[in-house]
């Protein structure tokens, strides 16, 4: 018996985008069909006629994973990570190629799939468990453990619509974590959220992995990949770019993303670009240079490369959250910069923001004309300890610790009231 957990050969997935994909009503489909002969006459190259464009989200992907391996899947947005995971979890079929998975597969492409807001936590546990592939008896058996892990015991018979999103996520992950599959496929489900719970989840996943189970894990957070995975597959534009031990591949990937994509082809060459080339958090040092795990002083560095001098520079910086709300902005005027490389340093006493993904936008203008405007990639991940209200809608945007105390002075209040009453009666 082999010890292969997953094998794939020549996997590819084609999506059609363009005119064809947009025909969502029968009428459009009919008109399209009726125009087909005309189109065929007018052009024998269907692609040139603009009827549709083939887009390969994944192309010629082959690999073999052994049992007990924990593999990280990394790559830029749109590199095909999610498509690969969808194929392996059988949500969609590949256009070409094949894959074989040995043993029970559990997939976690989204936390809380199938949760219904009107049902209670208990009911949703059963429903979600069944959707993930557990039987009723199996859920019965694990129910107490799941609830204990989720830390929502007190609300288990409350409808889910009254849960905060953090509580929903905890319950959802708890169900999924108890699936006990031989192979577990996980999409970026731990991207945001409470640091303590993230740690707990990673711990649970480590436990699963050490039990000889295979895990395929997609994450943008390289520190999570480093902590969990021994092997990494780096996808780029739908193809496998590099496979190997985590330290090697993750390092290479990190070096590539902390530079701007357009400078990737020729990173060493000077004068290829006029603008910002990279950014990182200098202090505090974390496992990834774009991640904040502790509160306190934060120092950032933005690297700017100029191939011609700037004489009347205007530089702006802004911080947005993942909903594109502006968190903070600042600007500097009358900058004189020579040709060459410059480092812009920023220092904050603290960045008291809720955990999540944030993006920096830096810009540089010379005499009012744009030199560069960069929405920094990778985003800044904040994963500090969270201080929050129980209910999401009361959370706000700041994550600030506070001290709370009650000072009671009942006697004085009472005395005043009595005084007032006596004063009135006299």
């Amino acid at each position: 018996m082999s010890d292969i957990a997953i094998a794939a050969g020549g996997l590819g997935k084609r999506y059609r985008i363009g005119a064809l994909a947009r025909q969502t009503t029968m009428g459009e489909r009919l008109t399209h069909a009726m125009k087909a002969p005309v189109r065929w006459l007018s052009s024998n190259n269907r692609r040139a006629s603009g009827s549709h464009v083939d887009f390969w989200a994944l192309r010629d992907v082959s690999f073999e994973l052994r049992k007990g391996e924990v593999v990280g899947l990394i790559g830029r947005n749109g590199a095909g990570k999610s498509t690969l995971l969808k194929i392996l979890s059988r949500v969609t079929v590949p256009t070409v190629g094949w894959a074989e998975i040995h043993g029970r597969v559990g997939s976690l492409l989204e936390v809380g799939t199938g949760f219904h807001p009107e049902l209670t936590g208990r009911e949703n546990t059963y429903l979600n468990g069944a959707i993930l592939g557990m039987g009723r008896k199996e859920i019965d058996r694990k129910f107490d453990e799941i609830v204990a892990f989720s830390e929502v015991e007190n609300f288990i018979d409350t409808p889910l619509k009254h849960y905060s999103s953090g509580m929903q996520m905890r319950l959802a992950f708890a169900v999924a974590a108890h699936l006990e599959p031989e192979t577990l496929l996980i999409d970026e489900v731990l991207a945001v959220g409470d640091m303590a719970f993230q740690k707990k989840c990673l711990g649970k996943m480590g436990e699963v992995a050490s039990g000889g189970r295979t895990i395929v894990f997609v994450s943008h957070q390289l520190n999570q990949i480093r902590r969990l995975c021994e092997k990494v597959i780096w996808l780029d534009q739908g193809k496998i770019f590099q496979v190997g031990p985590t330290s090697e591949v993750a390092g290479a990937y990190e070096a590539s993303v902390s530079r701007r994509p357009d400078s990737k082809d020729n990173p060493g060459a000077p004068n290829v670009q006029n603008g910002f080339v990279s950014w990182e958090i200098v202090e505090p040092r974390a496992e990834s240079p774009n991640m904040l795990t502790t509160s306190g002083r934060v120092r950032l560095k933005f690297v700017l490369r100029l191939n011609k001098p700037v004489t009347d520079g205007h530089h702006g910086i802004a911080l947005y959250n993942h909903e594109r709300q502006l968190m903070w902005g600042w600007a500097a005027n009358n900058l004189q910069l020579t040709e060459g490389t410059h480092e812009f340093h920023y220092s904050f006493p603290t960045l008291p923001l809720k955990p999540g993904l944030y993006s920096w936008l830096v810009s540089l203008f010379d005499h009012g004309r744009e030199v560069d405007m960069w929405s920094c990639f990778p985003e800044m991940a904040i994963a500090t300890e969270i201080h929050q209200h129980l209910r999401d809608e009361w959370n706000g945007i700041l994550n600030v610790p506070c001290e709370f105390g009650i000072q009671s002075s009942q006697e004085t209040a009472l005395a005043e009231a009595t005084e007032h009453a006596t004063g009135e009666s006299s």
């Binding site: 009503t25 429903l127 959707i131």
Partner: protein, 288 residues
């Protein structure tokens, strides 16, 4: 370790090891009954969710299951019965109509529910695998609960008119199954089509209306000339409804030729539905 009884597996090899093979080429009709059986608990939970959620935030709750057929029965009895004087095989109009509305209402709601089920569950479909056939199957099964509730009224009506069920009543489960299979067959077609073309959801209400007039709900099938009866029977609901009337009241003749034609039509409908649904299954998550 706790590898549980529910296997997410396609083929179990001789070694007892399960291997899932993922490929673009898929069979023509590969309803994997073993896999469906493994997911029986999911069908149960989908049905259960449907029932739990259906009457949430309504004032009279499950009484809706009774209201609809009862009101329709009253309207039919008044207009088609008292005023239009449609023959009723010697049955009191309320019995005549209610016995037909029982399977008809079930069929109409189950079919509509099944049509929408894929679109309603698009989030789940795009995030996790399970045999997609589970969806229409569970939606036609969920309708059985309302069906059972509305039966209570029928027994009250029977008692009121002093009509006793005859031995023909043992056929009732068969006719119910036939109605369920009809709803499933149509549901398989329409739910997959609805995932592609949202036009379907606007077509369905018309379809239900036309279909009702093509079925012996408001009139007895004896109005149809005998030599065309077999053709009429190709509408599976014709056999089902006549079958219900006969099984519940014992009036009229057992629907022989009508039923034979209807059974064939249902078999064809379900099989073709499975083939179409299966063809759509692999890519449904991409297009829904």
């Amino acid at each position: 370790m706790g590898v549980a009884q529910t296997q997410v597996a396609v083929g179990i090899k001789a070694s007892g090891k399960s291997v899932v093979r993922i490929e673009s080429h898929r069979g023509w009709l590969a309803l994997d009954l073993g896999e469906l059986w493994a997911y029986r608990d999911l069908i149960y939970f989908f049905v259960w969710r449907d029932i739990k959620v259906r009457y949430k935030q309504t004032v009279i709750g499950a009484a809706w299951a009774i209201f609809q057929p009862v009101l329709t029965m009253l309207v039919f009895s008044l207009f088609f019965g008292r005023l239009a004087k449609i023959p009723s095989q010697g049955l009191p109009y309320p019995i005549f109509y209610y016995s037909a509305l029982l399977p008809w209402m079930y069929f109409a709601t189950a079919m509509q529910a099944a049509t929408n089920i894929v679109v309603e569950n698009q989030r789940v479909i795009t995030k996790i695998y399970f045999p997609r056939v589970v969806l229409p199957i569970s939606s036609v099964m969920a309708g059985l609960v309302d069906f059972a509730i509305s039966f209570a009224v029928f027994f009250a009506l029977m008692a009121y008119y002093h009509i006793m069920p005859t031995r023909a009543v043992v056929w009732l489960p068969f006719f119910t199954l036939l109605a369920l299979m009809t709803a499933l067959g149509v549901g398989l077609w329409l739910s997959a089509l609805n995932a592609l073309y949202r036009d379907v959801r606007y077509v369905v209400p018309f379809l239900v209306q036309f279909w009702m007039f093509a079925s012996p709900v408001a009139y007895p099938s004896s109005l149809v000339p005998a030599k065309w009866r077999w053709l009429y029977g190709l509408n599976p609901m014709a056999g089902v409804i006549e079958g219900f009337r006969w099984a519940l009241t014992g009036h009229g003749d057992p629907p022989g030729i009508l039923l034979a034609a209807s059974s064939c039509a249902v078999a064809l409908l379900v099989l073709s539905g499975l083939v179409y649904y299966h063809a759509m299954e692999g890519t449904i998550a991409d297009v829904v």
